[in-house]
């Protein structure tokens, strides 16, 4: 599916900001199942942008603005083709998770991280959930379903960085919370898991179908990749019942939100600011030549 994406963060400050430094991670990943045709970043007021791939392979755009400004608009436009992502077949037994290849090969995705720091109780809950299951795929699915069941999607109920154990107790959250809770539970049960930042082509983050309308406005999305022995990383979305595939546009992955947060920075200025983040997505009409080519 060919999708056009426009990410925008707009800051309004009550008084002029003297200087700001910012780091943006909004570029769709180029991988086996996803191709980026075009990606452009615009900053107003303008600043020189330095682009690079970070440790995780995510494209980063870094820029500073060193003159007084009352507002800042950071926008990124991408044109990307997404494909279906294959799902693993049940095969690998649970015991494979104990092998050195998994334990040592994916060590950082088995450790606690700032946003995935589970309590004993949460670990017990995870192990109970997959107790008696034989295969890796079953276990991954069981925990996914469990998280989807125990948390209700509720924008505004949490803040980014909230402790996963609190999220679990409150039973409410947004996609970042679903993802962090799932990661924490996977890892506590010995299943390597990583956090994925991206976009979801859906009018509602919890609804599973591509929208009818041509253009939708939503927010960035987050989901999870769990490791399945003999298969690899399997994308799975606890917020949304649809399999991770054409509708999901991956930006990048990391241990948790901190490794792939879309935009962070510092500025010299007033403490207050208004920030509006929006993601606009549309399906590109295929030209005749392209559609023939696809056939």
């Amino acid at each position: 599916m060919r999708i056009k994406i426009r990410y925008e963060s707009a800051f309004e400050y009550p008084e002029a900001v003297r200087e700001s430094h910012n780091v943006l991670r909004a570029c769709p990943a180029d991988d086996e199942h996803q191709t980026v045709h075009r990606y452009e970043v615009h900053v107003a007021p303008t600043g020189r942008i330095q682009s690079y791939r970070d440790y995780w392979g995510t494209r980063v755009d870094s820029f500073g603005i060193r003159r007084p400004h009352g507002s800042l608009v950071v926008s990124a436009e991408a044109d990307v083709t997404t494909g279906e992502r294959p799902a693993p077949k049940p095969g690998a037994p649970m015991s494979r998770y104990g092998s050195d290849a998994v334990v040592l090969g994916h060590h950082s995705y088995l450790q606690r991280s700032p946003h995935a720091d589970w309590s004993e109780d949460l670990g017990d809950e995870a192990r109970d959930t997959i107790g008696g299951l034989d295969t890796a795929v079953e276990a991954v699915v069981a925990l996914h379903d469990h998280v989807a069941d125990v948390i209700d999607y509720a924008p505004g109920a949490t803040y980014v960085g909230m402790d996963v154990n609190d999220v679990r107790r409150r039973r409410k959250g947004v996609c970042q919370d679903f993802a962090h809770l799932a990661i924490a539970m996977y890892r506590s049960a010995g299943i390597p898991a990583r956090y994925v930042s991206g976009y979801l082509y859906a009018a509602d983050q919890t609804v599973a179908v591509a929208p009818e309308i041509a253009e939708i406005i939503n927010a960035t999305h987050a989901w999870v990749e769990a490791f399945v022995p003999g298969f690899g990383w399997w994308g799975i979305d606890p917020t949304n019942p649809t399999p991770v595939g054409e509708l999901h546009v991956k930006i990048g992955h990391g241990r948790d939100y901190d490794d792939v947060m879309p935009l962070r920075g510092v500025y010299h200025g007033p403490a207050d600011h208004k920030l509006g983040v929006s993601v606009t997505m549309s399906r590109e009409q295929l030209s005749q030549a392209q559609s023939q080519q696809q056939q």
Binding site: E19, D54, S62, L104, H107, S108
Partner: protein, 481 residues
């Protein structure tokens, strides 16, 4: 069993061998004998008053009120003969060369060392000092450890062994230089009978190394600064000292700004471009844009400027990946992997509990070994087998069984002893050595280094913050043979 027991009890004396005083100590010991107790005591007091009046102090760790103590220096210098030093120097150069290559491999290379399984990937990935944020940040000449402080001890047989690498912001060099100056005032005649290699070129050597790593983008003479966390830092004295020795500006984070990925310092005549930063500030405080966002000590945008190749930062960001406790056992392997050489200076014998055969050795000798948690920093959680209670040892064994990757185990190292003056009388005390190694165009070792003394009788703790003292360290001129 018996052998290892004996090993613990043997202490190597730096001065006295089986046949009496070693030749390289004869002149010094004779001189001290001539002076006599009263004179020595008097000179020790003089030494203290010199440091007090110069205001050379250090902060005591754990002192809430930030009190400072006068730098304690012992009157009796430590002497290293040329042959021994040549051996140590060769080992240090080799070790630092390999560590530089290792760090470059991790941050801008192919990570061949991990792909080939020389160091287990998980060890590096769990090192607290491994900074993924610095991945891809270049270091000119691959000189990532511009200043390294390598802690060396001598075991019961007098073998020089590396105890620890300090590759982030090692401190102590100012005391090496001040100790020498004070020594020439207090015991001038002792120098007459020795040709002691000078140390006072450190400032110009460090400056040369920093110039060498200047980014190619720098036009003409590079501007170099020393970056300090500020006067409240316990090593501020040294930061100011080094800036003065090099004749460069001592700056704080708020003096620097980044504009379009170029670093400038704010002066009364406008912004002045900065090319090389010798920082004495820990990684996590360097840049709130990529590290701790609450740090006010750093410079927003600094890491991006370094990544763009517009400024060089010394030591490089993320060197903690190489001086980590978990990586230490593999340094001899790094030397053979990168240089195809055998390590000149051995490590202290270390056991890895995650290797089943080594775990067995550990379990058999719990009361003979030292246990260090891999993830903890600053000496936390260390268990010393010979002095630990049975309960502690049992708990340690259980912890190792439960999480073998959480610990390493080492043989207890008995530090060598050296005569040390107390009220004019000499008495043996344990010592170690921290030589300083500079990586610029080439690798240079400053002759000697900081010899630290554990002042309480029998103590093995040489840290100045915990009651340790220091000695002037003399490397003698002469043929290495």
């Amino acid at each position: 069993m018996l052998d290892s027991r004996a090993g613990i009890e043997t202490q190597f004396s730096e001065v006295y061998g089986a046949d009496g005083v070693y030749p390289h100590y004869k002149a010094l010991m004779a001189r001290l004998e001539v002076l006599g107790e009263d004179d020595l005591a008097h000179r020790s007091r003089l030494l203290e008053s010199i440091f007090r009046s110069l205001g050379i102090t250090f902060g005591l760790s754990g002192d809430e009120e930030g009190r400072e103590r006068t730098w304690p220096m012992d009157l009796v210098p430590r002497i290293i003969p040329p042959g021994e030093w040549a051996h140590v120097e060769a080992g240090l150069v080799q070790r630092v060369r390999a560590l530089n290559l290792f760090l470059d491999d991790l941050y801008v290379g192919e990570q061949a060392v991990l792909n080939d399984g020389i160091v287990p990937r998980w060890i590096v990935e769990s090192a607290a000092g491994y900074m993924r944020e610095a991945y891809g940040v270049p270091a000119p000449l691959g000189s990532r450890c511009v200043v390294a402080g390598i802690d060396i001890v001598r075991d019961g047989q007098g073998v020089y062994r590396v105890l620890e690498d300090n590759l982030r912001v090692p401190s102590g060099i100012s005391y090496v230089l001040e100790n020498r100056v004070a020594m020439t005032r207090v015991l001038p005649l002792a120098f007459e009978h020795h040709r002691v290699r000078p140390v006072n070129h450190y400032g110009s050597s460090l400056l040369a190394a920093l110039r060498a790593i200047s980014p190619t983008a720098a036009a003409g003479e590079p501007t170099i600064v020393v970056l300090t966390p500020g006067v409240a830092n316990s090593a501020y004295f040294e930061h100011a000292f080094l800036a003065r020795q090099m004749g460069v500006e001592l700056v704080e984070g708020r003096d620097l700004i980044v504009d379009d990925h170029v670093v400038f310092m704010r002066t009364t005549r406008g912004l002045q471009r900065v090319d090389v930063i010798y920082r004495r500030l820990n990684d996590e405080f360097l840049d709130p844009v990529v590290f701790r966002s609450d740090s006010l000590l750093g410079v927003p945008g600094l890491v991006a400027a370094a990544r763009a190749g517009n400024v060089s930062i010394a030591n490089a960001i993320g060197n903690g990946a190489a001086d980590d406790k978990g990586v230490y056992p593999f340094v001899p392997d790094l030397i053979s992997f990168y240089l195809g050489e055998e390590a000149v200076l051995p490590n202290v014998t270390t056991y890895l509990p995650w290797e089943p055969d080594q775990r067995q050795v550990i379990m058999d000798r719990l009361d003979r070994l030292v246990f260090k948690p891999v993830a903890e920093a600053g000496g936390y959680g260390i268990v010393i087998g010979p002095t630990a209670s049975d309960e502690t040892l049992a708990a340690t064994a259980a912890a190792i069984e439960a999480d073998p990757r959480g610990f390493i185990a080492q043989e207890v190292v008995q530090l060598s002893t050296h005569p040390t003056a107390f009220d004019g009388r000499l008495s043996p005390r344990h010592i170690d050595l921290r030589p300083f190694v500079l990586s610029g165009e080439d690798i240079e070792v400053i002759p000697g280094g900081l010899t630290r003394v554990a002042l309480p009788e029998g103590s093995l703790i040489v840290n100045s913050s915990q009651g340790g003292g220091s000695k002037d360290t003399w490397v003698l001129e002469g043929d290495a043979t």
